[in-house]
Point group: C2
Chain length 378, copies 2
């Protein structure tokens, strides 16, 4: 007998409503029955994305939606500004490269957030920049970006502001319209509490103008086709039916909870997790710009970070994430978003304490759980 | 109370094993636990695709996998030969256009199959052709293509043979390796008995050579990335975890049944369906090249085909498909693939008889069901 706890920044655990919805007999997608579901999904997404713009549902993972942004907005020879502060910022750069787009890169040290003034400087220095690519929550480092400040800078210029909110949407605040975001890209398996397999992308009128000029080859991710379809409450290609039916369930849950309550719940879990790891003597990787979706902490010197994650998962059933790429083996990352709540955090911290002890790390047993409890009691 | 019957050529009904698998708690994809599942899926796909080549799993619908074929094999300015015998053949032409590939099109009348000799002629006349795009089962017309004969023609030349087997794989025979198919494209929601959301693409060494020369922009569908990942039993991007877990279930079912038994079951259901609609006085749309995956029949003159489909679905819960594009309102299409069996066909034909009668069409009540029963008794 083993009970599993999933505390990774994607996928996140599935609510029982989602499991139930996915196990229903499937229906055909070109029917009034599915159209009613799609209509509710499209409307619910506007609420979750805090936008009046269309939010398109793609049958792809988040990276597919990121590619849709680049391929639809730009053409070979265009210039884009990329904020690169981790693995997922790098993905924007790679996507630009794949499409022959010149990426002017603002390289930010892993664990730090970009200074919005740098974006202002770059935009002034290079008026050719057609799009600014950023990341709401850089999952590889646990850093949250100040999109509101960036929006103020980009808003009045020619360039479109694109935010990769794959990790973060539905967990931390992103006022798409109020902050002037032209394209919000997301995925299903994080704050939206679904399995992976859906990509999302919203589209402002400013972005729509760029799309009309883009010459990049595209078909499956062509947002002009998606726009024509959504206007008839349809999809250009066969949608991922079961995932969309489950999406309607989570959008109802989110509307019932209310975004403000959802965000404050995430803030509390983040505070608790940060307090807990600090109480264990661990150092936060991103102390100045920590995201409320995932906490990254540095593995204490002398301990094998990969073994720590592996033991928690394979011996005790608690799956957290380790570090990626340059931080491989050096970080632990604990997610606190989506269908993760207080007692999941307590379970995760308790298991962390157990394995740290077994690995010979010295600290006061129970200190992490106690620190988290103190936050939850506030 | 209403019980629903799904007899459409995608999605097809889900076996209970699939519904159960999708409702399990989700697991993380970068773990040994998921790797074991992916390994079984990769091996099972080779069996289902009748190939020793890698079969890549994409988080997309079938069209995404079709785009992967074009974008990976070819570059702008290249020439391809497209067999266009319906809506899905046209999709190959549109994809070529999107990537600046010159499509030499063999246009075949809807309801007919291509004559392989035409392909031979085109290949001889134009040695520049780098790829031949075909469709195993043209869902829009119910026509099956003679891939074995086409394979013999394309095999020894320079061009790669690509088969859209989205509709058909797992329902009718496609000996990928033995027939010399270089790329087989498929989707999850037809013969493979899953919800939509997975695309598949196999890759021969001949196709791999073309891929190395292709300059088309791509990232999410880049098969070089997919190849690197599959060699480590991994995926380049977040996979559609729940669908892959369910895929393992259907691949087990298919292996247990055996492909030969599966194909002969489909043949029998197709024979029964064809006999039934003929007994009702309906005319088969593709009498000379009828696919064993879906039967298309012409709506009798004077009857409203759209109303027929709508009444069966909205009043009686039996969903069949109508005609698409130029055949809108003029066809009914009844699928007999995947998790559809004898008695589903009987139910579908019985409902068809009921609604035809109500619409004033004259025939001997029960004649369709009787004709199907006779075939099933053989």
């Amino acid at each position: 007998m083993r009970k599993n706890y999933l505390l990774t920044p994607g996928p996140t655990p599935l609510p029982p409503q989602v499991c139930e919805a996915m196990s229903r007999p499937i229906i055909h997608h070109r029917t009034p029955q599915f159209q009613a579901i799609l209509k509710e999904a499209n409307e619910g997404l506007k609420y979750a994305f805090q936008t009046q713009n269309d939010v398109f549902i793609l049958a792809s993972s988040g990276t597919g939606a990121m590619e849709a942004a680049v391929a639809n907005l730009l053409s070979a020879g265009d210039t884009a500004l990329v904020v690169q502060a981790g693995k997922f910022g790098e993905r924007w750069t790679e996507l630009c490269k794949a499409y022959g787009v010149t990426a002017e890169v603002i390289s930010v040290e892993w664990g730090k957030a970009v200074d919005p003034a740098q974006i202002q400087k770059s935009l002034k220095a290079n008026p050719k920049i057609k799009a600014v690519f950023t990341t709401l929550c850089e999952t590889s480092t646990g850093v949250a970006t100040d999109i509101e400040a960036i929006g103020k800078i980009v808003k009045d210029g020619e360039a479109a502001l694109v935010v990769d909110a794959i990790s973060g949407l539905g967990a931390i605040d992103l006022k798409s319209d109020a902050w002037g975001v032209d394209m919000v890209v997301s995925g299903s398996q994080k704050g939206l509490m679904l399995p992976p397999g859906l990509g999302f992308i919203s589209l402002s009128s400013k972005a729509m103008k760029l799309i009309e000029a883009s010459k990049s080859p595209k078909y499956y991710f062509d947002l002009r086709k998606a726009k024509k379809a959504i206007d008839k409450t349809d999809t250009p290609f066969t949608p991922a039916i079961t995932l969309i039916i489950a999406l309607v369930e989570v959008l109802r849950m989110m509307k019932q909870d209310g975004l403000e309550n959802i965000f404050s719940r995430h803030r509390k879990m983040a505070d608790a997790t940060r307090a807990a790891v600090k109480a264990l003597g661990l150092v936060l990787f991103a102390p100045d710009a920590a995201s409320d979706a995932v906490t990254a902490a540095v593995v204490p010197q002398g301990l094998d970070g990969e073994k720590l994650v592996k033991t928690m998962r394979d011996t005790y059933g608690v799956t957290i994430a380790g570090g990626q790429d340059e931080m491989k083996g050096k970080l632990i990352r604990i997610a606190h978003m989506g269908f993760i709540e207080e007692l999941d955090i307590i379970a995760g911290i308790s298991c962390l304490e157990k394995v740290l002890t077994q690995m010979g790390y010295k600290f006061q047993l129970g200190a992490g759980v106690k620190a988290a409890e103190e936050v939850f009691l506030k």
